[in-house]
């Protein structure tokens, strides 16, 4: 039987890891991009990002002071059994992880109306930042896999979820996705970015698929369409923190869901900032 205190402890370390650590595929992509960069000030920025990742990893401290909103993602085996109290244990782990990091105290006080204008101020405790609703997918087997994604605020200002009229042309949809990305990448201020896209039937589904694309995405595994979008945005020369240069986008992650018979596809795009994708996973055996 899966022990709940282990769930809490593992989730807490995953939150700290996601917030302070770049994975090997991510680091390799960054190093290669820095090596390629020829504009001195762009290279200066890239080198600073790499030094920052090294420092954060060494001290288990935050990569960015916007430590982000936790987005939990659960994959539950068809033969797995979730013990009673699993979700509260997971949420306790997220709270502990935010406090251990420590994350930026961004939880907003007050009732649902007061929270909109932030008129009651903020909680002092980092762990009072509540996670986003949990995403769930099914997988074969007896395991439960937990992934935490920490999503910062800047990209949310530049995100977009809207229908694209596909005109029965894949090419048309891809061109629209590139047209969406260019101005948002240019305006973000935290380049180089990664781009995540979800394509689905509804705004809710497309947003969920975009998050799934972040969860699954690897910087060293890129489809032809992903590579094309990356290359076409990079050709605009926006560069690290907008300083010009060859790398504005490090990688693109696309998740295409089910489609419906209709003239439109709902596309959700998020330009993930230079510190993202901040994610970490844990797995537990949870058979009967």
């Amino acid at each position: 039987m899966l022990a709940l205190d282990k769930v809490t402890a593992d989730v807490a370390t995953a939150v700290v890891e996601a917030s302070s650590h770049w994975r090997e595929d991510q680091l390799a992509c960054w190093r290669a991009a820095c090596e390629r960069e020829t504009i001195p000030r762009a290279k200066w920025a890239m080198e600073n990002f790499l030094k920052n990742a090294e420092a954060a990893d060494l001290h288990h401290s935050a990569l960015c002071d916007d430590t982000g909103t936790p987005h939990p993602f659960l994959e539950i085996g068809d033969e797995a059994v979730l013990p009673a109290g699993f979700l509260p244990a997971m949420e306790a782990g997220i709270r502990k992880g935010l406090n251990d990091l420590p994350a930026r105290p961004m939880g907003v006080r007050g009732n649902e109306l007061e929270r909109i204008s932030q008129c009651k101020g903020l909680y002092d405790e980092p762990g009072m930042l509540m996670p986003a609703p949990t995403q769930i997918r099914r997988i074969p087997g007896k395991k439960i896999r937990f992934t935490i994604l920490m999503l910062g605020g800047g990209p949310e200002i530049r995100s977009r979820t809207q229908p694209i009229f596909h005109m029965h042309s894949l090419e048309h949809v891809i061109e629209e996705m590139i047209n969406w990305a260019v101005p948002q990448v240019a305006a973000l201020g935290c380049q180089p970015v990664t781009l995540s896209f979800g394509l689905g039937r509804t705004a809710v589904e497309a947003s969920s698929l975009s998050l799934e694309a972040m969860k699954d995405g690897r910087y060293d595994v890129q489809s032809e369409i992903e590579k094309r979008i990356t290359d076409e945005v990079n050709a605009r020369g926006i560069g690290p923190i907008g300083l010009g240069g060859s790398t504005s986008v490090l990688a693109t992650f696309i998740k295409i869901g089910n489609m419906r018979g209709s003239g439109f596809r709902v596309v959700s795009m998020r330009p993930n900032c230079c510190m993202e994708i901040r994610k970490a996973s844990r797995e537990w055996e949870a058979g009967v």
Binding site: G154, L188, G189, I241, L243
Partner: protein, 170 residues
């Protein structure tokens, strides 16, 4: 790349900085973002900043929260932040430090007041290590979004806007 070291708040002769220059700031700078900067603008207009120990002449306004997670620039183009740049420049602030693009109107307002917009990579682990002192001056109840005074050493930035010129391509 050549680095120009600047002691702040800057009280010297006119600076001849160009867009693209790399600088390092040494001294005391102010930090604020969405929640508090409109209040600072109001105080500047009322002439009450000195009552809160704020010396705006030659000051650096860093667009950041200050928290246990450290410091790093937030997006300057958010309306309450970008909206503070021209009025605080008119009051005497010399540098606004953030990230991302700003509007042509703000670029022109900086030029009219001989002020600069600087950007720095959002590298919290590195920037926080350059900070040695910190205290909340205005609205401490805003928590991380209060108006802070911090001391920095060799704080890196690039001049993004100077005299109407920007480093950002169209």
């Amino acid at each position: 790349m050549n680095v120009k070291k600047i002691n702040v708040p800057y009280k010297g002769e006119a600076l001849d900085l160009k867009a693209g220059d790399l600088v390092e700031l040494n001294g005391v700078i102010y930090c604020g973002r969405d929640a508090v900067l409109p209040h600072i603008v109001a105080m500047a207009k009322e002439g009450t900043l000195s009552e809160h120990e704020i010396d705006i002449k030659g000051a650096v306004i860093f667009h950041t929260a200050v928290s246990c997670a450290g410091i790093a620039p937030t997006t300057t183009s958010k309306p309450e932040i970008e909206g503070s740049i021209v009025p605080l420049s008119e009051a005497g602030a010399k540098f606004h430090l953030g990230k991302g693009r700003i509007s042509p109107e703000t670029v022109e307002g900086l030029k009219q007041n001989g002020a600069y917009f600087l950007i720095t990579p959002p590298v919290a682990a590195l920037l926080t290590a350059q900070m040695s002192e910190c205290r909340a001056l205005v609205h401490p109840e805003f928590g991380m979004e209060a108006f802070y005074e911090i001391k920095v050493t060799d704080f890196p930035a690039i001049v993004a806007v100077a005299d109407g010129e920007t480093i950002f391509s169209d």
